[in-house]
Amino acid sequence: MVACRAIGILSRFSAIRILRSRGYICRNFTGSSALLTRTHINYGVKGDVAVVRINSPNSKVNTLSKELHSEFTEVMNEIWASDQIRSAVLISSKPGCFIAGADINMLSACKTLQEVTQLSQEAQKILEKLEKSPKPVVAAINGSCLGGGLELAISCQYRIATKDRKTVLGVPEVLLGALPGAGGTQRLPKMVGVPAALDMMLTGRNIRADRAKKMGLVDQLVEPLGPGLKPPEERTMEYLEEVAITFAKGLADKKISPKRDKGLVEKLTAYAMTIPFVRQQVYKKVEEEVRKKTKGLYPAPLKIIDFSHISFLSIDHSSLLPFWTMYKFGELVMTKESKALMGLYHGQVLCKKNKFGAPQKDVKHLAILGAGLMGAGIAQVSVDKGLKTILKDATLTGLDRGQQQVFKGLNDKVKKKALTSFERDSIFSNLTGQLDYQGFEKADMVIEAVFEDLSLKHRVLKEVEAVIPDHCIFASNTSALPISEIAAVSKRPEKVIGMHYFSPVDKMQLLEIITTEKTSRDTSASAVAVGLKQGKVIIVVKDGPGFYTTRCLAPMMSEVIRILQEGVDPKKLDSLTTSFGFPVGAATLVDEVGVDVAKHVAEDLGKVFGERFGGGNPELLTQMVSKGFLGRKSGKGFYIYQEGVKRKDLNSDMDSILASLKLPPKSEVSSDEDIQFRLVTRFVNEAVMCLQEGILATPAEGDIGAVFGLGFPPCLGGPFRFVDLYGAQKIVDRLKKYEAAYGKQFTPCQLLADHANSPNKKFYQ
């Protein structure tokens, strides 16, 4: 019977081909050859519904590449030309991904504005045709539907999405410094209303399927299926296709209307937006907000606002609109900001891989020592991913606080509806809080997050090694103590590694893993595997004082102190740093990190690196600590912090300390711009030196570490990207100017000088 059916299908196919070849012999030739070579898109016909399947070869995700584009156009033209087909379903063959967006490699490869514009133009053309398709097209979405993928989906007549966690819709172009270049700026506001569309385009946020349904971004939801006669994912895709086909038929038969009933609020908003005055006010407000947030450092959001606004103009103009978008899309993609952001994207992809390969033994039981802010944070991101975790502290109050922190972190997710209360409870049951070493004999990895004190860490290491099994890894969460010094007292230094988390652990994406010369490859592989499981972006660096991140930050902090000593107001300093693109002002950063921690690090690293880490007088920090101004945690630092009060006032008690340590400012290097560059160049110089010394393996890791761990301006793409884009020569010139004023602290390192001397040398080729 199967054979018979197969023959039936074959004969049907050949019949079509013969029919067509009468009229268009020429086309048939190209058509059939394309059919043979088509690699990204295929389609079959079920009844009178064409099922178009997207499947980029050799990749986990579908991306909009040139090939996919041309094949899609081909396929759609065939569908439109066929008499037999009345409607179509667009679906991916990959369970976790509809279309993840434009191929970023393709965009990054574009050398000229013209190339990019042309890409955008081609996309717009086919999407416009799709939007006006006489045969209804249903997008069946399972997995990520992002950027160009969503623009494609909203050009279809109907959208059905699976209500899966993996199904997310969004236009994240803004995060890459671009704008939705294939008509999204026009179609999205029409579909979900201006406020929602602007929110999506300006934040680039991912929208889950159920939310998308409420917004009107998708028309129907399909529940993911459990096990049946096939693996759940496979059957869910089939089911999605089946449902999509019934809707495609319904649309073709006009039994289902593609129009959605809008709610009252939505109708009112839509009406209000037709009044020019209201509209202008809304856009003005949004623009103000965006300018405030981006400090004008990112061009893309403003362009997005412009375009979505223009789309309200008269019809004559709107016909030209696609061309403007294309042009602007091209322009944006060619900006430095976009290059920087795309570079970060690539770096992030790189840092989400385990370059050490799979570890011999999976870590299933984790133990964490110290239930402080860090320890509890690490516990939270671990239990979250199903790791059985022991949280051990020395005191019951400390343990209680830590467990509460984990619970609160999970409960906040419940409030945001990212978890159900049931899931929270079952996740929380992965955590065991205790005061002794019971159960450590089963641990595969121990992460210590005790106070930053070498002798304490030594004691803990010895205690732990007495109870853990042979294969168990000992990881130290420290921000500055060299791992090799900690490992010095270990019986098995090959199992000792550094895992430097950033606070707050559940929010900060970065994990800096530090390997000593003795650390075994398998230990590194395990640590990276655990980090990846915890959802971290990982850089692996060599051991040394301050590793990479702390070491880069220290000279900049030293400069912060000098600038404050020179009489610059902390508020002014904050605004100078944030307007350069740092997410947190420099003075605030000291408060957030903790003045005592900063002092600790400054002293430790100051001893090792000597004059190069000098500049500001550490006495400032010492005096602050002695007065109890430890920053946010003690309520006072440079600013005063009060529970529930958002406004920050300067701590007036600091005046006397600052006055006593006042330095005369040097006018030739004290302009606003100079102050900004004094901070940034010291940072960059130290980062490059880390690469030069081999602490860092690649510039990409350096950029990711700086941006994700230390808040280096993302629009600059990280210290190395910044050198490439801004020009090594210009940075060296600046450094030399400051060197003349302050001395050795600004001496450009050899590698940076090399780059300045030969302009062809780039960190990123």
Partner: protein, 475 residues
């Protein structure tokens, strides 16, 4: 029956492979019947075990099962349970004082009578010296009541047990919201007028929003019908197949009712109303009529409808269980042995209703029987889609290998031996009472149709399941 099965096939050229088999089976089975008449050799002659007491069912009864909101709507659960108990006393003439223990199953508890077994027993005139407790395990609560009794007898703690179950869906406890409850409790504790006033000032109108008993799974917040619809989709069970199966259930139940086979029913004289003598949910319809219904859970494209799901039901059941020697000593002729049983549980989200698939092979293996040894299958029908999904799971090597840790599939129960007198879809499904109905149906069928072993299986909320072997008592 053949006509019922063949009928849909004629209508629908696009039946799936499975439906094909479904329709063809009557042919093959009738030939089998002709070739090998009545006598079948069993793997085991009896399931009696050395040194373990035999547990027998003397008899069991139930009130008629009614759609909720009909004749029983003004009753309380213990009234229904009492009716089942008095019916049992009447049917078996068992002296009340020999009953050692009473166990009832129930799901949605009336707060006033949370140990409904005790309240009903007292009202039915049982000795106040006979202890009673209530168990709950969703749709297999009555099964749990029975097997608890089996355990008590087998371990020598008791000789005579009454087990049963009750559910009254006409009335469910609807509560005040948590906020309101808290306010009321605090008010209770308030000492001064000032405290009271300050508490009252916290009152908000939304406190009055009532809290309905959840029909959803607590762990997943998914309603059972929704899960059933997904299950049916996962096993690619079509709407038509489900409607066909529901029609079969209703037709067979109607036939059994008309032929007077549902002998476990005892009439119930509802206070102030007419005497109820039969189930009122049996409504054989036509496939055309059923096809018109809209999906009840996954809208607008799901396949589970009101017509192919079991309905909310009021009803109670009770059963007299004894140690064999005690029954014989008292001069009873028992109906059946209660043999091996098994509880299973699995993922409450995606395998919520697959209990029978998991429990069936386990209980058969435990008893040392095969599918072929079973003469009467009585499966709880929560939804057509659930029964058919279980069939497909049992018939799938892939499922057996990947989810059950078995090398080969469980195998399909032959349809001609399956729920021949209707099932929960048509007779109704009072959650707490269905278990006893299943066992009595199996026992009565074995007596009527001939045969030795019956298999009872059911799924339950929480992703749990149950199966038990019922062995006919030799005549």
């Amino acid at each position: 029956m053949t006509t019922i099965l063949a009928y849909p096939f004629k209508n629908l050229p696009t039946t799936s492979k499975w439906a094909l088999r479904f329709a063809i089976r009557p042919l093959s089975c009738s030939s089998q019947l002709r070739a090998a008449p009545a006598v079948q050799t069993k793997t085991k002659k009896t399931l009696a075990k050395p040194n373990i007491r035999n547990v027998v069912v003397v008899d069991g009864v139930r009130t008629p099962f009614l759609l909720s909101g009909t004749s029983y709507k003004d009753l309380m659960p213990h009234d229904l349970a009492r009716a089942a108990l008095t019916g049992l006393l009447h049917r078996t003439s068992v002296p009340k004082e020999v009953v050692d223990y009473i166990i009832f199953g129930t799901v949605i508890q009336e707060v006033k009578t949370s140990n409904v077994a005790r309240e009903a027993a007292l009202g039915a005139g049982f000795s106040d010296k006979t202890p009673a407790h209530t168990v709950t395990m969703a749709c297999i609560s009555a099964n749990q009541a029975m097997t608890t009794g089996v355990g008590l007898i087998a371990s020598g703690q008791c000789d005579v047990i009454v087990a049963g179950g009750v559910e009254l869906m006409s009335d469910v406890p609807i509560r005040h919201s948590r906020k309101m409850r808290k306010l009321m409790l605090d008010l209770n504790k308030a000492k001064s007028m000032g405290q009271r006033l300050s508490l009252i000032s916290k009152f908000r109108l939304n406190f009055l929003a009532p809290e309905l008993p959840a029909v959803a799974e607590f762990s997943t917040s998914e309603t059972m019908g929704h899960s059933a619809d997904r299950l049916a989709a996962a096993f690619a069970v079509s709407r038509l197949e489900q409607d066909e199966y529901a029609l079969r259930s209703h037709s067979l139940a109607k036939k059994a009712q008309d032929e007077g086979l549902l002998s476990d029913i005892v009439p119930f004289r509802v206070p102030g109303k007419d005497t109820v003598t039969k189930d009122n949910g049996i409504r054989p319809s036509s496939l055309e009529q059923m096809a018109k219904l809209k999906p009840a859970f996954i809208k607008p494209y799901g396949t589970v409808t009101a017509a192919n799901s079991s309905f909310l039901t009021d009803g109670a059941s009770a059963m007299l269980i004894m140690a064999e020697e005690k029954a014989l000593a008292m001069g009873y002729k028992p109906k059946a042995y209660l043999r091996d049983f098994m509880y299973v549980s699995q993922d409450p989200k995606d395998q919520l209703l697959l209990g029978p698939t998991y429990a069936t092979p386990k209980v058969l293996e435990k008893a040392g029987l095969t599918m072929n040894d079973i003469d009467a299958f009585e499966f709880h029908e929560a939804f057509s889609g659930q029964i058919l999904a279980n069939f497909k799971a049992m018939d799938s090597d892939w499922f057996a290998e990947n989810y059950m840790g078995r090398k080969t599939k469980v195998g399909l129960p032959p349809l001609e031996k399956f729920n021949n007198w209707g099932g929960s879809l048509s007779l109704g499904h009072p959650f707490g009472a269905t278990g006893c109905r299943l066992v009595m149906a199996a026992a009565n069928r074995l007596r009527k149709e001939g045969g030795q072993y019956g298999l009872v299986a059911a799924c339950a909320a929480g992703g749990q399941g149950h199966a038990m072997i019922v062995e006919a008592y030799p005549k």
